[in-house]
Subunit: 340 residues, 2 copies
DNA sequence: GTGAAAGCGCTAACAT
DNA sequence: ATGTTAGCGCTTTCAC
């Protein structure tokens, strides 16, 4: 079943069929119709390899998940739950629905020994979306050398397009909400203190305080990794010093789950004794009991936008760099008390 | 940079280069060495499209997620959380690590209008793994017509290889555990009663009862869909009739989350008043507070096995059908009281 | 053991 | 507006 069969069936040449397939407007309505009939009748689908060979376009984009969790159970309490990956994939798939592109995925860990993800080397892709925690300038430079359209999701790198949530605004929104509800002894369990992302959130936190003319001491920030265990231990340490916050703002749903588990073990009532505000709006906050009030970091939207940005980059390789910032929102559910 | 450049560089013909690339043993050591030198020197990577065109092998497998959730938020409390997809993907990726295959993914919903997933029609694949809830004989027949290696994950269909958890055993294991812990007023919130999977679990439940010589009335089964809302409403209905079980066995982590939310709202203490046993062992049970005792349905293992079965099928198209049953296990954590 | 040559199915430049 | 034709880069007989 090739283009020739369709040509015969429709009584035209194969070039005409090709023109129809590729949506040329220089084909008479009538001819186009005949060809489309033939295609439908025979259920013809163009051979992608042949097409690729000649156009050198694969009509495939890649999603590469840069991870340090190297195939441990992807949601062990001690590892970073891969909620960003899942939600972003969904968004990408949504954006792909209307296109003739397909999505290849790869998990890449430096533990594998390769310096560059296989998919990038293999040239099976027209472009790639990078996501995940294993981010280093060396890796980015290696990837840059491959001269492939790249979009970074959730991080920025000078030479690539990027799509990320506005972290400063996210920090602001979270603390502003807690302040609004009358909390004045807030603990912010932030991500790793080495991360620039953590710093950006903290700037938002400070702004929220400044706007209300409140002292910085109202919020005490601690740092940990984005895991359940990280949240658990860092919060326990704080609790054991005798601090008794009236609200906790977790830095990710993983961290928040850790905090909640510690609180559960201590028999602390939520939100009566301590309010909890989550960050991320993953499945964990949706399915908690009751559902968790949190900052929605728009992961699906980011995925969809990253996909669009990548498509543009593929079309116009030399277009100006895009650094898209997505605005976070607040999802009000439960777990936060009104202390006014 | 083509095979011809390598041929020139090495001073041989392009057929010889091709033979070297494809690991033929009819090439003299010396020649092979020259060619390999040339390849390394120029950093040549064969063009996959050209290769595909002639061999009609893509070195790509597909994961097609058959869903009825058509791009609603993938984990809304009212929709089926896509935990099976996520965990199975992980398993597939694990199995793929050691191969030169890559993974294409597609979400397919009948709402899209197509009768067969695009990836299957497009011939971009050497084989496909089918997963998800949108299972119908018509669809399977359509797919069968495409004459592509297929593995069904989580379901069986007469003409495809399949990998699934042993549901009867899962039902048995869960109820046996609750009985062992002394529970005698158990509610089993099963999946949809139209599903043969629900029936299989029920058989295991009955066996557990029979083995201990207990009457069937010890377990009352109710049915619902695999969503948080499904669990919530079906359990509420039961609760409002005045029934007061001492243990609940949820049919999926989504269902269980719904039950727990209702119990939370009613102020019922878990596990003091009601024990909870989960089914699935997804992120939801791992991250609950405290972590949930549950049946582990081995989703990652199933993904990895499905991948292996598919690889075999690709190699030996006419091999005998494989119907692999994976044994579930019990993960003991919390949420179940000892009532002995 | 190696090379020549015939395509795989398609697109795109050029004819008509 | 449609047809003719020359490849895209590779694998695979089949000679030598």
């Amino acid at each position: 079943m090739t283009i020739l069969d369709i040509a015969k069936e429709a009584g035209v040449s194969k070039s005409t069929v090709s023109l129809v397939i590729n949506g040329s407007d220089s084909v008479k309505m009538e001819t186009r119709y005949k060809v489309e009939q033939a295609i439908n009748k025979l259920g013809y689908v163009p051979n992608q390899a042949a097409r690729q060979l000649i156009t050198s376009r694969t009509h495939t984009i890649g999603l590469i998940f840069l991870t340090s969790n190297h195939f441990h159970k992807s949601y062990a309490f001690s590892s970073v739950p891969e909620t960003l990956l899942y939600d972003a994939s969904n968004g990408i798939n949504m954006a792909l629905q209307d296109t003739d592109y397909t999505l290849l995925t790869e998990r890449f860990s430096s533990a594998g020994g390769d310096s560059v993800p296989y998919l990038i080397r293999s040239r099976k892709l027209d472009g790639v979306i990078l996501i995940g925690g294993l981010f280093s300038d060396e890796l980015m430079e290696q990837i840059e050398k491959q001269n492939l359209p790249v979009v970074n999701l959730g991080r920025q790198y000078k030479h690539f397009d990027s799509v990320a949530v506005d972290l400063e605004q996210a920090g602001f929104l979270g603390i502003d909400y807690l302040l609004e509800k009358g909390h004045r002894r807030i603990v912010f369990v932030n991500g790793p203190d080495t991360s620039s992302n953590s710093q950006k959130k903290l700037e938002g936190v400070r702004r929220a305080l400044a706007v209300r003319g409140l002292p910085e001491s109202v919020v005490s920030a601690i740092y940990t990794e984005y895991t359940g265990l990280g949240g658990y231990h860092s919060f326990r340490k704080l609790w054991e010093t005798g601090q008794r916050p009236d609200a906790v703002f977790g830095g990710s749903d993983g961290i928040t789950a850790g905090i909640m588990r510690y609180l559960y073990e201590q028999g602390v009532a939520i939100p009566d004794q301590v309010s909890i505000l989550g960050y991320e709006d993953s499945i964990l906050s949706e399915y908690a009991s009751p559902a968790l009030t949190c900052i929605n970091t728009q992961k699906e939207t980011m995925g969809a936008e990253a996909c669009r940005v990548l498509m543009n980059r593929i079309k116009k390789r030399r277009a100006q760099l895009t650094m898209l910032k997505i605005a976070p929102t607040l999802i009000e559910r439960n777990f936060v008390a009104d202390r006014r």
